[in-house]
Symmetry: D2
Subunit: 417 residues, 4 copies
């Protein structure tokens, strides 16, 4: 058995965690059952580079059940849950992952995974694919196909494909409806509010919560803040989204104006410098500021540092900055993704769908890679539909189906006859 | 002056109506002001075939202000508001429109409009375009461009374009965000619930309302029913939409199951035979059934007729069917679009945006038709943005703009550098 | 047969209306069934002075089914629905009621009712009781008991009781939970928003709606406005209620501040001069102002008249005032109760409960008047519970009951042992 | 200096906690400022028996600022926050409190407080009052008045007063609007949902949440569950409350029916045995069950123990019971108050109001005890109004005040003239 984890004795704790996640991930459970029977990956080597969390573990168990020989590393030096890694190792998964890796360690782990000569690569940030295309080109002979989770990764791979530099077919898992419509809206919505309460315990009823950004994530956050009794203000740079926020009953204004009246500020824009010096200067004493956008650049830490005469940690992941004029501003988790830093990230039930897309995509690639070019493909819509159907089934929900007459009617209408 | 309307003496009443609509249509008011100054249609002949309503009148006034010579007819033999038509005629608009036209009259009016040799055609159902491509091909010499409002029309025009049969450039106004995201969701949502209350006066709090279809329209209807205190059940045929409904907190089930427990049924599917014999058989005594989908085929009137031993009109636009087993079922407006038949259609504030898209598209076509092929084009996104900005301005709302650094950041990220 | 109505030929239309109300009034239907069997009013003369509407008719039918000999008049010169009065007359009810009565006619009708020597009086405004205590004191010999619907009436009767002037026992129906918790909150909430949409057809999504007063009625109105997508501002004079509004997520501010930003103003305070000159002066062009409080004194019509240079009716029950500075303000139904003037008042389903309280109180009085003093009594709580149970039953809802152990636990806890 | 706490070195951590609470308790801050100036307790000895938490500490600091000589003990052997107790001790407060006290220690602490010969007693469970009336009657000579926080305490004191056994005047703080309307509804609502997320991290969107009890607490919990996207089912034993739940749009059914469909069960009834064997038998595999009612008797732990073949702790405060048939049921915090056990109890912002009532009541008693009998009094309404006003002020909110004309109108109407 080959692995490198923090402490194999953490396996029991990790298994408990994974079991809890499994309870909320019925779609992957169904897929695992199916994989166990049909062994879609029988004899195949899969190279996996993902955040090693309890939810990922449920995905990996399904792949193993399908006959895959896994070789796994973490996709970020800080995100591995050591007990989960230990649990996987103890179950025989070849895994190289622990929390707080050095950059050198990180690359060593990537290369260990590649040493297994993967036929399928599963990436979250395109690191395996990049290495194969640069320093490990000898693997291009054995690799059949790959899949990528992140937006950023997909953008780069599409650029490569456009330049003719991509050397094997990739499926972009990120944009498929059963992932982004649910993950961003319901997942970010709940976990952001959850982490706000954990980190601050403030009463949300009656508070003025400023949500920066009204994309899928921002809409989810605004809805949940409102559902907890807060008065929500939205800031936007896109007029159409701003108008949607207004018609959804929220107030809409520029951040310089919102800064004066907000009690809590939550950024979910995907952009940088959304809250900066000029906003901090206007905020009320006691304002709480957090970020649920992907990167920690939405709130300018340098700016608040510059304005402050002192700072102290007043609760877990909550730092009080005392400004030179005496006002205090509270920053959650140093502006990093607050739902991960100060809570548990997306609930497992949401990751169930994203990872079911991953599992089914992998099986689909095994069957179809021969017909694919070295391009970036969308998740086939039948996978999306299947995931949604399985999730509905897990809720015990049945829905209507089109009659032949209805299908004909729709078709005729679409054809304009 | 050339016109044919029901009764020119209705003009005063029509003007009052139009004035009320104008109050709710500030975007068109701004555009009209701009048109008055810049005269984008100076000397141009516009052929217009639209539903003649108070909101359309506001659009037409803007076009006239822009220097257009209009020639107008109604796009449906039943939809003309006679007082509005009279008001337009009294203001000097060449218009041929009245309610309850025969088919012959209807085509006569279309041809009268075409006799004006329009250089731009504005259609809602592609009737002008069709005539020009079939019986009035001599006009292809003078017509420069056109625009089409409906989905159905656009589908046919795209088919024509694909076959090389389209002879002049068309802009499809229907699908642009400032139209369909607002019109379908906020417009249909409110007007459906409004018409339900007008037609029945039932207390919505505590009622079980079944919404068939969870597209933009269905989502709007479900939200508003819920906002009035109803318990909402959603039926769907699309698993992803069904799952969204479930995660939005609604119950989801097949119509055969919902039929047993619903107090009110509202169809917004765009399909046919959504509520049929097998559903009527299961409904509770007193169920109220209405449709907000485009066509009157969602609820099967033949089926309820077949099951009933008698029927009577119990309130305006509400017919009580007494079934052979004694149960009574109430059908709103014979299954036609209930928000139009039993209320006033979409509120003017929503049409403000759709018609602003029309107005700005017309002006854009005048400037750009020379560079266009005989294809179907989307509304240019700058028009969408401008409409949203004007609407926000009418609310007195200002929003943030990207700093150069933010623009650069977004761009760099999209480029994957 | 003895009656005086507008036109007995309206009976068929009236019966249709009543039938529609009956459909929404299942509690009264159950009570009627029970009354039919047990004849609680057998041989008794009931004098009834109520608003003659389709819902009242359902109550009266129940009383008739219980064996009562009714003598009925309207409780307001303007509120009688002539077709309903005709329907009742055609069914043999002795009734004197038509719309637009002179004051002389009104008192003539009251006296006609009293001529029947009622043993029980059912009042909505205490007019029968007052007459019996003043000009018709000879009836004090035959009258056994009475009941009163309105708050105002109850206040006066309590004052009389306190002074020893009350001469027979009265039950105050107004304050019982199954009436005021439902009628005010759900009834006023829906009917106010309903009438706003009927009278104006404005899009509520995105509008700023100012609700003056956050009692049961105001809370209902705010909830429904919010449920239709409006941004709600509450004004209050009571700090506790103001704080509840704030914690419910609304903005709270003085009317002088709200006046500047509101699109729609709805008063539900029960006080006078809530919106006056100083507020009209601050309002935006196009503001819509209506009242759902009981009296037409909440909005100062004299003030808006004084500020205006002209006025015109622009839609049914909607008057446009053009102020001297050019701004236009729209007043709904001259500031009278908008849900009655511009819609159909409370939905029947809500009146079902209030009138069930009336019906059961009448039956209870027949059984218990002998043990009562000449005081004002509350509705016995068993009636309240029975009405709630019947309403739940009509929804097909069953609920839990306390086990003996639970009853004992609660009792012991309340006793502090 | 006299104190007994766990570890005085925890003071720094405690001060940080208290500072965080103070930030959310602006009403007490204002009162403290006022107390500092006016010294209402100058030279007075106050005996205090309350849960020693960060919020209580804010109250105690205000009393100290007012000149009070405090003697403090905890009101429960388990509820003391040791760092907060240390902080108070370090500030010079005479305090005897630590977590995990034996019964003997507990009473020792009570007696230590009484040894200070308090002139005012502040109780949460009437322990000081009881001791004074039983074993420490010598103190009746020096004690002037007292106040009691809990419902249970108040019930007992009222029984004593009725029997003539109460020997000094008491104010019941529990039932005043600014306490129970906010604490129960907003406080329990948020903290219950907060603790559910912390303890389980389940996605609430789409979950079916069963709320047992629809009093103020239950309504708050249902509203917040719904606000997080859950489908809410309410169970009740009171028909009027059940009907309110139904009209608020929730499903209502008996627990035996709800047991089959619920994903999460939350009890807030104040009764015992709300969820028992017969319900556990019907629940779905994976059901999560928690309690937010005051005592840990709502969920029958003996019953689930009896039905289970094994149990294990799967997350903090979450125990998995595996039933003999293989189904797993998860119990939160052994059925104890989940918002305290698995989160942080009510947010400070809510306790701000309850404790402001306490502070102002104490000051009022000092001024008024001479005019009071040995009875149980309500909080004077001017205190309630003052607390609400201060809270509004802390939000920066101003509200309207009645004009003399309005006051007269209301008065005249109330007088029935």
């Amino acid at each position: 058995m080959d692995y490198k984890v923090k402490d194999i004795k953490l396996a029991a704790a990790g298994k408990l965690k994974i079991a809890w996640a499994e309870r909320e991930m019925p779609v992957l459970a169904e897929i695992k059952k199916d994989f166990s029977k049909n062994k879609p990956f029988k004899g195949l080597r899969l190279g996996v580079c993902l955040h090693v969390t309890k939810e990922t573990a449920v995905l990996l168990r399904a792949l193993v059940a399908g006959g895959a020989k896994l070789s796994v590393c973490g996709s970020n030096p800080l995100s591995t849950q050591d007990d989960v890694a230990a649990a996987l190792a103890s179950e025989g998964v070849t895994i190289y992952a622990w929390k707080y890796q050095s950059s050198k360690d990180y690359y060593m782990c990537l290369n260990k995974v590649l040493d297994s000569k993967p036929q399928l690569t599963i990436d979250d940030g395109a690191d395996l694919i990049s290495l194969i295309h640069s320093k490990r080109t000898e693997l291009l002979e054995t690799v059949l196909a790959g899949q990528e989770e992140t937006t950023t990764g997909v953008i780069r791979l599409k650029a490569m494909a456009k330049d003719g530099a991509l050397r094997y077919p990739i499926v972009a898992v990120n944009d498929t409806p059963t992932k982004h419509l649910f993950d961003n809206y319901y997942g970010t919505g709940q976990s952001t509010i959850d982490s706000l309460m954990r980190v601050s315990n403030v009463l949300l009823a009656g508070k003025t919560v400023v949500v920066a950004g009204y994309g899928h994530c921002g809409r989810g956050v605004a809805l949940r803040a409102s559902g907890m009794g807060s008065h929500v203000i939205v800031t936007e740079i896109d007029p159409v989204k701003a108008l949607q926020a207004k018609m959804d009953g929220y107030m809409v204004m520029p951040m310089t104006q919102a800064a004066k009246v907000g009690d809590v500020f939550l950024t979910v824009t995907g952009n940088k410098e959304v809250i900066t010096e000029k906003h901090f200067k206007l905020m009320k004493d006691g304002a709480v500021v957090g970020n649920s956008g992907h990167f920690n650049v939405e709130i300018s830490l340098p700016d608040i540092e510059k304005l402050s005469k002192s700072k102290q940690t007043v609760r877990d992941e909550l730092v009080e900055y005392t400004l030179k004029d005496g006002r205090r501003i509270y920053i959650i988790a140093e502006g990093r993704l607050m739902n991960l830093a100060a809570a548990e990230g997306h609930p497992s039930a949401v990751m169930d769908m994203s990872f079911a897309d991953q599992a089914l995509t992998a099986a689909w690639l095994v069957k179809n890679y021969k017909n694919l070019d070295s391009q970036v493909y969308d998740v086939p819509s039948e996978i999306d539909v299947r995931v949604a159907k399985l999730k509905l089934k897990s809720f015990g929900i049945f829905i209507d189906t089109l009659t032949p007459e209805q299908q004909k009617y729709l078709a005729s209408w679409q054809e304009g006859t």
